[in-house]
């Protein structure tokens, strides 16, 4: 095609031709929205039309002074706690399933299965599981004689966020587990052999050999848990539309923008969330000793 050009010219042509569109897409669809979000956050834009006035830091003041906006982070905390439990369980099953065990591939596949199931359909499936009268959970509890454990899983405001966070655990535990298994398998087996010769028991092997070797993966998982919890949206939105005290920060942002047509305020909320994420990742990368640079 370009045989008549020198390799130097071809190189220039390839670099331009191959990078132009992808980088343009990146700039237009990721960076431009982020920057304009910053601009909108200082305006009173409604999101309809292009009329907007500069209001300085008013939107930010509103976020930090209207308690109901910031209080929604309490709901996100349930997803964070769920995420911690999920990470612990994932590590536990990863350790079990990376050892010699009959049927381990079958169990790996079973525990990973929820991750590939369609996400909205999964939430609706759980709606049927949690149903007060006919939901399979309460029916099952009744059948095994645990009537006293039957609950209004979505109606009880003290319980509903746990019920929703559980769905997230159910869906993503297998994913974390497979990631941990990948990390565990990269530890050379002879290290365990020599640890055994030195008389280390299983717990000591885990504590002093396994844990340090998978540290960076574990750290990454925890960060993903935290940022994932901050961005929790789909499960409470599909299940409850954020009703009954299940509205997370992102649901509030989306409602503020598209339902209450306060795009300026919503943009400021988006910027606050983005700052949180950046700070968390910065802390992990720079401040934690031994973190990746």
């Amino acid at each position: 095609m370009f045989n008549n050009l020198s390799y130097k010219n071809q190189r220039t042509l390839i670099l331009f031709g191959f990078l132009l569109i992808p980088v343009a897409l990146l700039l237009v669809l990721s960076y431009y929205p982020a920057l304009s979000l910053l601009y909108y956050s200082f305006t009173d834009w409604t999101g309809v039309g292009w009329d907007m006035n500069w209001v300085g830091f008013d939107n930010y003041k509103e976020i930090f002074t209207r308690p109901e906006i910031f209080a929604s982070f309490k709901v996100n905390a349930y997803y964070f706690i769920g995420g911690l439990v999920q990470t612990a369980l994932a590590l536990f099953f990863a350790v079990i399933l990376s050892g010699k065990l009959k049927g381990r591939n079958v169990f790996r596949a079973i525990l990973f299965l929820p991750y590939v199931l369609h996400s909205v359909a999964t939430v609706i499936m759980f709606k049927n599981v949690y149903h007060m009268e006919y939901g399979s959970l309460n029916v099952f509890l009744g059948a095994i004689g645990l009537e006293s454990w039957q609950q209004s899983w979505l109606g009880n405001e003290h319980l509903v966020n746990f019920s929703l966070a559980f769905i997230s655990m159910w869906k993503f535990m297998g994913l974390s587990m497979i990631i941990f298994i990948g990390a565990l398998q990269s530890i050379p087996g002879d290290m365990y052999e020599s640890a055994k010769i030195d008389g280390a028991n299983s717990w000591q092997q885990f504590r002093y050999l396994t844990l340090p070797s998978i540290r960076s993966v574990l750290e990454l998982q925890l960060i993903l848990t935290l940022t994932g919890a901050l961005a929790a949206f789909e499960i409470p939105y599909v299940m409850m539309l954020g009703a009954n005290g299940t509205s997370t920060f992102v649901i509030q942002t989306v409602d503020t923008a598209f339902k209450f047509q306060k795009a300026g305020l919503a943009s400021a909320m988006g910027i606050v969330l983005m700052l949180f994420v950046v700070v968390i990742i910065f802390i992990q990368r720079k401040l934690l000793p031994g973190g990746k640079d």
Partner: protein, 277 residues
């Protein structure tokens, strides 16, 4: 003594694994049996198996009222076009960044990494106005454009792969006078196939699953995809619970089939992305 203890440990391991498997299958079992039951049966029979496993009424009804056929068609078109673009752009970027040293190389890598820090869901307010400005609102062009760009995970996986392709191959092709474009097309692109397979599977699952993009950018009824179709079953004009169960089951099938046959690729993609990312 030693072996007795080992036996106990492996019994315990199996108990935990069986308990976890039970938790995984319990909700799936509930929708599975529900999908074959009549409405009266659903409310009366609890967790029992359905009377008639050949009762496909719910499946027929959900296909009709949910217009699932056209939802599968729509998401299929969106997937084919976005994935094709994704592969072409992803391999091109990887070739340019992986094979050449140039001034903008580091800044471009930084751009890709930095983009991961932006939580896309919160920038929707302004992404929305970009899509509107392009005139793509309420067209399939909106999700296609949003899925088209390569993400960091993709670049990282492709770069890892391209680095393992020996540079000698490029050089000997150059000796024979092949153009750089030809080297990309007939050496690099084909050799990236295993990475492409992994990425296509992972991307397919994530596009198929995505709810927010179609929900926000394509509210038109005729543009419904699978996510927005099943979402419309809940809420005020909800369908009967047994009919919804059939819908859930149908929607589960494609990715489960993909998983059963291509598990190896899915696992390798998930791990390589996380360990290196």
């Amino acid at each position: 003594m030693e072996t007795k203890q080992n036996k106990l440990v492996s019994v315990l391991k199996y108990l935990f694994l069986i308990a976890a498997s039970f938790v995984v299958f319990f909700p799936i079992y509930s929708v599975f049996i529900g999908a074959f039951k009549t409405q009266v049966e659903y409310y009366q029979s609890g967790m029992a198996l359905p009377h008639d496993f050949f009762n496909f009424d719910n499946f027929k009804r959900v296909m009709k009222i949910g217009k699932l056929g056209s939802s599968f068609w729509n998401i299929g078109i969106i997937m084919v076009i976005s994935l094709a673009g994704n592969i072409i752009f992803g391999t091109m970027v990887a070739y340019a960044l992986g094979r050449f040293k140039f001034k903008l190389r580091a800044p471009i890598m930084a751009l890709y990494l930095g983009a991961q820090l932006i939580p896309t869901i919160t920038t929707q307010v302004s992404t929305f106005s970009v899509i509107k400005a392009f005139g793509l609102y309420n067209t399939m062009g909106a999700p296609i454009l949003l899925y088209l760009g390569a993400d960091v995970l993709q670049i990282v996986i492709y770069l890892q792969f391209i680095n393992s392709i020996p540079k000698d191959l490029d050089e000997s092709a150059m000796m024979e006078g092949a153009s750089l474009f030809k080297i990309y097309r007939s050496i690099i692109f084909p050799l990236l196939a295993p990475a492409t397979a992994t990425l296509v599977i992972l991307k397919s699952i994530s596009i198929y699953n995505d709810f927010y993009t179609p929900y926000l950018y394509m509210p038109a009824q005729k543009l419904r995809v699978v996510s927005t179709a099943i979402y419309s079953f809940v809420g005020p004009n909800a369908a009967q619970i047994n009919v919804i169960s059939a819908g859930i089951l149908i929607i589960f099938i494609p990715t489960v089939v993909l998983f059963l046959f291509l598990q190896k690729y899915i696992f390798s993609g998930v791990t390589s992305g996380a360990v290196k990312g």
